[in-house]
């Protein structure tokens, strides 16, 4: 019976239990609700029920997936397996699976879907901004779109590279068969999916007007829709934190014989430095959101200055998390960039140690700069020179990344494949992003640019222009390895050129529009900016359209054409390309031993690709 196969611990059960859990939680919440808690008193809003509903819903979802099986079986004294579904077959993609490669592909599809939704929101925002006056959405819907776009992208893209690529590749690159905590690895993915679904329910509860930053006291005052934002970000924070923990533990403890720190591929360094930030930054976010949750339900007043709190406290805490967060978005892309460049220049990475210190330097400095988001807020004005200095200091390690990329291009044999094009675009976009950042870091200059479209365009250059470009570079580069199937290169290049040109034609003018005095998140703007804004909107639609080229390519190549990619279509010398495509369930027959050089290009007399890595007697019997 086919129907019987739907019964069990899988996505279907999880969704059903998730919905049931939500309603059970909602009912529980109504028992708590009383006049003493509903301090605002003037509404029919029931935040207590909603919060409890969200969390019981997530709990039901996880139980449905089978996360409770292992602990329950152990408690009952029955034999239990830590591993789940480490086999072949399609069913493993629709449930709890502890194979790091399956989780990687799950992440790719799951995050991809939410990024697509976030992108659609951006299209709707740009549709409104075609004219200076409000014409498409009402004020609340517009702000909800802005908030959903920002929150969805910030929440999902933080794991946008660590989720799919690092989960898939890091164990292979360090010669391990799995991540350090395979069940936690699966948990991070499913938490993220549950969070994404929660954020979408904001629409059902009236949307939220706070943007992705959720400044207090606006967030205390906002209606019930903002609870979805709070629950979403708290759960995403948990997922990020666990993902970071898992990645740090894996890189520290799971390296194969010979894989010393100085031999780690730079991609692994990129993910490792990010993972440290991911482990340390989100706890601040989670506790901040917990305080907001208490403010909204129990009138604790952490952030409400009329009852003893401070709006500055929220801003400080949010950006103390928020600034490492933006480097969580930047660093993994640098890892991809520096990993792909050697393959298509057929050269070793130039300045390996410099690149590593660049990555770690950025990770360290990212903790010291958060108050540059508050230059105009009046907070602690005598510290502004310090934050100006620390912010500008970040351009030093960032400069390391640039010089290493340039050095790798130097005297290489450059092949302009689609992943390489995305990497070159990364360099261009991040250059613009970094230079525009200098205006924001300089206090007198920041007076104009702060909170304007300039700062918005700046971080789109660094996040979309860098992270999303390296994300696509990574997809075109590694998808043949993950699936064993080639993507159409012609369509890939078409995608690249449309995306690159449309991206710059969207966000380049936005830098100027910001300089000319257009504030962020405003549904109206001054009439003299209409021409520029219409241009930007049309470009943005092309930018959105370029994603359709990608989707078409993805479906066409993977579902209909299915041209085998072979084990090593790019003639790379990295270890993942010496394995069969797709990589078999337990990665290696035997744990490999690594030689001294992660980038063995250009060795005298060895122009050919070396044989598969030498194998040592198996030490680990994982």
């Amino acid at each position: 019976m086919k129907l019987r196969r739907l019964i069990g611990f899988n996505l279907l059960t999880a969704v059903i239990l998730g919905v049931i859990g939500f309603y059970v939680g909602w009912w529980l919440g109504t028992l708590f609700k009383g006049p003493s808690i509903d301090y605002l008193g003037d509404t029919q809003q029931n935040d207590v029920s909603l919060f409890i509903g969200y969390f019981t819903g997530v709990l039901g979802f996880l139980v449905g997936l089978g996360f409770a099986n292992y602990p329950v079986q152990r408690m009952l004294g029955k034999p239990a397996s830590l591993r789940a579904k480490e086999t072949e077959g399609k069913a493993r993609y629709f449930g709890l699976c502890t194979d790091h490669k399956v989780v990687g592909i799950q992440y790719l599809i799951g995050i991809g879907a939410f990024i697509f939704i976030g992108g659609l929101n951006a299209m709707l925002i740009r549709y409104e901004l075609i004219t200076p006056n409000q014409h498409a959405w009402n004020g609340n819907n517009y702000l909800t779109l802005v908030g959903l776009h920002g929150t969805m992208m910030m929440g999902m893209m933080t794991s946008g590279i660590l989720g799919p690529f690092a989960n898939y590749l890091v164990p292979i690159m360090i010669g391990a068969r799995r991540m350090a905590f395979p069940r936690i690895e699966a948990l991070t993915f499913w938490l993220l999916m549950a969070a994404g679904a929660i954020l979408m329910t904001a629409i059902a509860f009236g949307g939220f007007p706070t943007g992705w930053t959720g400044y207090a006291p606006l967030i205390d005052q906002a209606n019930m829709g903002v609870d979805a934002y709070i629950a979403f970000f708290a759960i995403v924070g948990l997922s990020m934190c666990l993902l970071g923990l898992n990645m740090v533990a894996t890189v520290i403890t799971m390296r194969a014989p010979g894989m010393t720190w100085g031999r780690l591929p730079i991609f692994v360094w990129g993910q490792f430095s990010t993972a440290i930030l991911m482990l340390l930054a989100p706890p601040v976010l989670i506790s901040t959101l917990l305080m907001v949750m208490l403010d909204r339900t129990a009138q604790t007043g952490f952030f409400n200055d009329q009852i003893g709190g401070s709006s500055y406290l929220y801003e400080n805490l949010f950006w103390f998390f928020g600034h490492p967060e933006v480097y969580i978005l930047a660093l993994p892309g640098m890892g991809i960039l520096l990993e792909i460049l050697p393959v298509f220049t057929r050269k070793p990475l130039w300045g390996y140690k410099l690149a590593v210190s660049g990555l770690m330097g950025i990770a360290l400095l990212s903790w010291l700069v958060w108050q540059h988001h508050l230059f105009m807020s009046g907070i602690n004005a005598d510290l502004r020179p310090f934050y100006m200095l620390s912010t500008e200091l970040i351009s030093l390690p960032t400069g390391f990344i640039f010089i290493c990329a340039l050095g790798t291009l130097w005297a290489g044999r450059i092949r302009l494949t689609s992943p390489m094009l995305f990497c070159l675009a990364w360099l261009f976009n991040f250059l613009i992003g970094g230079l525009s950042g200098v205006f924001l870091s300089d206090v007198p200059s920041d007076v104009t640019t702060h909170g304007s479209f300039f700062s918005m365009a700046h971080f789109h250059y660094t996040i979309m222009g860098a992270l999303l470009f390296s994300f696509f570079g990574g997809i075109y580069f590694w998808l043949p390895k993950m699936t064993g199937i080639k993507l159409n290169e012609r369509l890939a290049k078409a995608h690249f050129w449309v995306m690159f040109i449309a991206f710059n034609s969207t966000f380049g003018p936005l830098l100027v529009i910001g300089f000319l005095g257009m504030p962020r998140r405003a549904v109206t703007y001054a009439g003299y900016l209409q021409g520029a804004n219409t241009w930007v909107s049309v470009s943005a639609f092309f930018l959105g359209g370029s994603m359709l080229i990608f989707l078409f390519n993805f479906v066409w190549s993977l579902v209909f054409v299915r041209e085998p990619a072979g084990d090593n279509p790019w003639n790379s010398k990295s270890i993942e390309w010496q394995l069969p495509s797709p990589v078999p369930v337990h990665n290696f027959d035997r744990i490999p031993t690594f030689g001294p050089d992660p980038y063995p290009y250009g060795h005298a007399g060895s122009d050919a690709i070396p044989p598969r890595p030498a194998v040592a007697p198996t030490r680990h019997t994982q």
């Binding site: 300045g351 500008e392 050095g407 206090v443 200059s445």
Partner: protein, 285 residues
């Protein structure tokens, strides 16, 4: 190709890149200083504006050579070293793993630029005219001499203004006397707003319970736009206004008129103070 010939070739390439960078910078710098710079925002009608235009120009000047070098390097290497159709695309490039002199040179140049930017920015900030940004209740960068105080109150979703030297009269319009040092005191009654007077070169967040001070001296009569630059809820997009800068005598007439108009309602206002504590607010969109 023998390796020494290849090295010689590479030297030629390096020299070409250096030459192109110098030429491009030499062309770009005058354009930046004389064409782009003076047109940088927010315009030169106020003291804060002048200092910001100067700052923006200096930043552009520092960035120009780096930008030129990186762009030219990428373009040149991609064109010069790319594998052409028919070439053997399996052959490896030169196994260069680093080059200490260039690494040190890069580190030295970028460090110098960064330190210059930080020192220059701090000096500008602490100089009395780098104070258009909100500095909180105890400003460290102050213009010398006495200043004319104007309070800006942000509330959902408009700005109102009080003039303490005229009995704390509250008006819905911002009118400023020309040629006078102005001391803005920005505060909020509810959410966080941001008072952004674009042409003045002033931006200061309006936080509830906080007095945020910014200074400016306007040199020219005219109008300027005011927008809220911090998301403050449903009608954030409509929180804008136009301010006017008028002569001293026009200002005196205007403020006298305002005092007369609002004399009746003045008694219902709270006494002028740097911050206000309204009742806890109800929920709104």
């Amino acid at each position: 190709m023998s390796s020494s010939a290849a090295a010689g070739n590479r030297r030629t390439h390096a020299l070409r890149i250096a030459a192109l960078t110098v030429i491009a910078t030499a062309i770009a710098l005058p354009l930046v200083i004389f064409v782009l710079g003076p047109n940088m925002p927010p315009g030169k009608d106020t003291t804060a504006g002048v200092s910001q235009v100067f700052d923006n120009t200096v930043l552009l000047v520092v960035m120009t050579p780096f930008t030129m070098f990186i762009l030219i390097f990428i373009l040149y290497t991609v064109l010069a070293f790319r594998v052409r159709p028919g070439d053997d695309d399996q052959r490896d490039g030169a196994p260069i793993r680093g080059h200490m002199p260039s690494q040190i040179a890069w580190l030295a140049t970028t460090t110098a630029a960064v330190l210059f930017l930080a020192i220059f920015g701090s000096a500008e900030l602490l100089a009395s005219n780098g104070s258009g940004g909100g500095e909180g209740p105890k400003p460290i960068a102050k213009p010398s001499g006495s200043a004319f105080q104007v309070q800006v109150i942000g509330q959902q979703w408009e700005f109102t203004y009080r003039y303490p030297s005229y009995g704390g009269v509250e008006t819905a319009q911002l009118v400023l006397p020309v040629g006078q040092e102005i001391e803005f005191h920005v505060t909020s009654l509810d959410a966080v707003h941001s008072f952004w007077a674009y042409e003045l070169g002033v931006k200061a967040d309006a936080n509830p319970g906080v007095d945020n001070v910014a200074f400016v001296k306007v040199k020219k009569q005219g109008t300027f736009q005011i927008r809220c630059a911090e998301l403050c809820g449903l009608w954030h997009g409509y929180m804008f206004d136009t301010g006017r800068v008028v002569s001293q005598s026009q200002f005196a007439t205007w403020i006298a008129g305002q005092q007369k108009t609002f004399a009746g309602s003045q008694q219902y206002l709270p006494k002028y103070s740097l911050t206000y504590t309204p009742d806890p607010q109800d929920r709104a969109g």
